[in-house]
């Protein structure tokens, strides 16, 4: 599938700039289009209006492609020479739909900002599936910016999603989202550079690592983890989901001197993978599976003693998506137990699919004991969800984070 290789390797050639609509929406969409968020090229059925797409009967014959799929880096299985994805290849072979898979999402806030102007103006974002973390997915669903996922087209997904992921207050009946993977936020480090094993969040602030430490941009991961550290030190009382603005202020005040003296070199999204590769980063807040699947042999992930952050990234179909039926087919496809097991075994995250663990255990018992895929009870007991803030609070917290990030 050299065809697919090229699609994986190259960015889309065209970008959509919407200048219709009200002047403000026009400017907003234009800004977003300028902002480096390249939208996929609309090579599919561009004449199909969103409402028609939404009501089309998803029979196998009616499924139109290509499927424009925006996901995070290191989040899809790759073959031996890392040129193609077996899962995507199989999907293409099964349904005859091209998949335009782009590793476009480095951080929730940044990606949200690239699609919000179009969605807010009632326009197609250009994507058929996007993957957002709980708090951001909830915000998009509450805003009504998603298509309802047809239950008749996704029977496997409805049957196989793990019970603890059902019944969320923002989408109790899985009408708008299906989890892609769950994972943890903890501390990543290069054991050769640090010269020792790290066990806590506080280890990241060791003076020996000055200038070689990075945190995650935005507040949900960074403020949660530092909050857990301050909680362990007795400086704040609340777990991340219950943190108050005063707690956030305390986290900010703790971090500020480390930013000022250059101890923390950057606030990153998924690009910490490159910085670990070059040795510019020795320790960082990272997401659990990335270093195992895409890092070097000396890169380690640790669930910190103070606790770690558990989250789920969710597949959503943005409002007005042009290839909704294809998106539903993909959602159903990755909930097949065998497909889910193959995916989880490569990317080292926690699969949302019932039975994927047993499937992995059948072929690879060692992997089935991996704590990244199947966190043991003592680690799971110290996993905390992120805060889910209302819009006004979100702006105030984001401002605190922006002050640390220097912009």
């Amino acid at each position: 599938m050299t065809d697919l290789d090229q699609r994986l390797a190259t960015l889309p050639l065209t970008r959509r700039v919407f200048l219709q609509g009200s002047s403000m929406a026009g400017v907003a969409a234009f800004l977003a289009a300028c902002g480096g968020g390249s939208s996929p090229s609309p090579t599919g059925q561009a004449s199909v209006s969103p409402s028609e797409g939404a009501t089309a009967e998803p029979t196998e014959m009616a499924i139109e492609g290509p499927l424009n799929f925006a996901n995070w880096p290191a989040y899809i299985d790759l073959n031996e020479d890392e040129t193609a994805s077996p899962t995507l290849d199989d999907f293409e072979a099964t349904y005859g739909i091209e998949v335009n898979y782009q590793e476009e999402i480095e951080a929730n806030e940044d990606f949200f900002a690239t699609i919000a102007p179009q969605l807010g103006a009632g326009l197609d974002s250009g994507w058929d599936i996007i993957v957002l973390t709980d708090y951001m997915a909830a915000r998009v669903v509450r805003a009504g910016w998603v298509e309802e996922i047809d239950a008749a087209a996704t029977p496997t997904a409805h049957a196989n999603v793990r019970d603890e992921l059902r019944g969320l207050d923002w989408d109790p009946d899985m009408k708008f989202h299906f989890p892609w993977q769950s994972g943890a936020t903890g501390v990543g480090y290069n054991v050769v550079s640090t010269g020792r094993d790290l066990t806590t969040v506080e280890d990241l602030f060791d003076p020996a690592f000055k200038g070689k430490a990075t945190l995650l941009s935005g507040y949900p991961d960074t403020f949660s983890l530092v909050g857990l550290m301050l909680r362990a030190k007795g400086q704040i009382a609340n777990v991340p989901a219950e943190m108050t603005f005063e707690d956030a202020q305390a986290v900010h005040d703790y971090l500020k001197p480390f930013v000022d003296d250059g101890h923390i070199r950057a606030f990153t999204g998924n690009e910490y993978l490159q910085d670990f590769g070059s040795g510019d980063t020795w320790v960082a807040f990272v997401w659990s599976g990335d270093l195992a699947s895409s890092g070097g042999p000396d890169d380690r992930f640790v669930f910190p003693e103070e606790g770690s952050i558990i989250w789920t990234d969710n597949m959503l179909i943005p409002k007005g998506a042009q290839h909704k039926a294809a998106a539903e087919a993909m959602i159903d496809f990755v909930y097949d137990v065998a497909n889910a097991a193959r995916l989880a075994a490569w990317i080292y995250y926690i699969s949302p699919v019932k039975g994927a663990g047993e499937e992995i255990a059948k072929t690879d018992p060692e992997l089935a004991a991996n704590e990244l895929l199947f966190p043991p009870a003592e680690i799971a007991a110290k996993m905390y969800p992120q805060m889910a803030l209302a819009d006004e609070d979100d702006i105030a917290w984001a401002d605190l984070a922006a002050d640390l990030e220097g912009a």
Partner: protein, 349 residues
């Protein structure tokens, strides 16, 4: 009669496409931005626009809140311009006067980096200055000058270096054009009139300029948090002395009176154009601080980018953009006054 009238219309017809273009893509977007800059709210919460609200606080609040970013922009943009000038003027002079048959090739080499994307060039600097790169391989692994956790990435040095590299061609090309235009017969005439080496004047002027440039560089780069150390008074004095000695030597031995009295004054329009062409993009840049800097080295461009594209906070972003624009206009006005506009625009033509 009608022929005469149509002739009068010709200049307007010739200008019409340009004016229309400016109206559509400069005036109208700027009016829109001005409206944004006085509004309240974000994309998510919705905007309240004038005339319902006139939020001047977007401007006043931004200046105080983002004063660090403004000073970063001015200092880094200014330093990059000075460095570009110090590197670019001798280069342009050499190409124009000594280039000979290599002139076209040399000019091509100056522009050659532009054939690669701006982003790729900055990312290659990230690799060159990075942990595995040649710069640290020499300074850290071979000479053992710096500790193991020293990094160049994240320092003002990296940002200013990146800016200097990116905008050097903007400096060299206008300088080349104006130096190339200098009438050689005037230089010969000066030499006939006993214009020799600059010696004493060159020593003094070179020492002053050299000291100023190196102190500016030292203070500018040490300014803010440098990983490891801050600018110390002793270092500033040392930089001043080194700059004075170096500048004095260059002034006394390399610069002739015919250069200082003929070539340089005649190339001033090029200096003016080149420094503006370098300073304006450098001060508004956000790619270099983003990729090569740290949270302490973010410039105004980063705030504008972040507010527009990450936080969808258009009012603050628009206000900052206008403040930056106003700042640049004031700076250019003062600069033009300093160099004397009449001579720059009309005088030499």
């Amino acid at each position: 009669m009608s022929l005469l009238r149509s002739r009068r219309a010709i200049p307007y017809l010739l200008m019409a496409p340009g004016l229309l273009w400016l109206l559509l893509f400069f005036v109208i977007p700027n009016v829109q931005m001005l409206v944004f800059s006085l509004s309240e709210g974000t994309l998510r919460t919705g905007f309240t626009t004038p005339p319902d609200v006139w939020d001047i606080d977007n401007y006043t609040g931004s200046i105080s809140r983002f004063s660090d970013n403004f000073s970063n922009s001015i200092v880094y943009g200014g330093l990059a311009t000075i460095l570009c000038f110090l590197i670019g003027y001798p280069l342009a002079y050499a190409i124009a006067f000594k280039g000979g048959r290599w002139k076209n090739l040399l000019l091509f080499l100056v522009i050659a980096p532009f054939f690669t994307s701006f982003l790729i060039r900055t990312i290659s600097w990230k690799i060159i200055l990075g942990n595995d790169g040649p710069a640290l391989a020499v300074a850290r692994d071979f000479l053992h000058l710096v500790p193991a956790n020293f990094s160049i990435i994240g320092t003002p040095l990296a940002v200013v270096g990146g800016l200097t590299y990116q905008f050097l061609p903007f400096m060299v090309l206008p300088l080349y054009v104006s130096i190339e235009k200098v009438d050689r017969r005037l230089i010969e005439a000066a030499q006939d009139l006993y214009a020799g080496p600059w010696r004493r004047g060159g020593l003094v002027a070179g020492a002053i300029f050299g000291a100023f440039a190196l102190v500016a560089l030292q203070v500018g780069l040490g300014y803010g948090a440098f990983v490891g150390e801050d600018a110390a008074p002793a270092a500033v004095v040392a930089a001043g002395l080194i700059g004075a000695v170096g500048g004095g030597l260059v002034g006394a031995f390399l610069i002739s009176q015919s250069f200082i009295r003929v070539t340089f004054p005649l190339s001033l329009p090029g200096v003016f154009a080149a420094s503006i062409l370098t300073f304006i993009p450098a001060i508004g840049d956000y790619v270099n601080p983003q990729l090569l800097g740290s949270p302490k080295t973010q410039m105004v461009g980063n705030v504008i980018q972040g507010r527009f594209l990450d936080q969808n906070d258009y009012p603050i972003a628009a206000a900052l953009a206008f403040l930056l624009m106003a700042g640049i206009l004031i700076a250019i006005f003062l600069y033009a006054r300093l160099l004397g506009t009449e001579e720059l625009t009309g005088g030499t033509a």
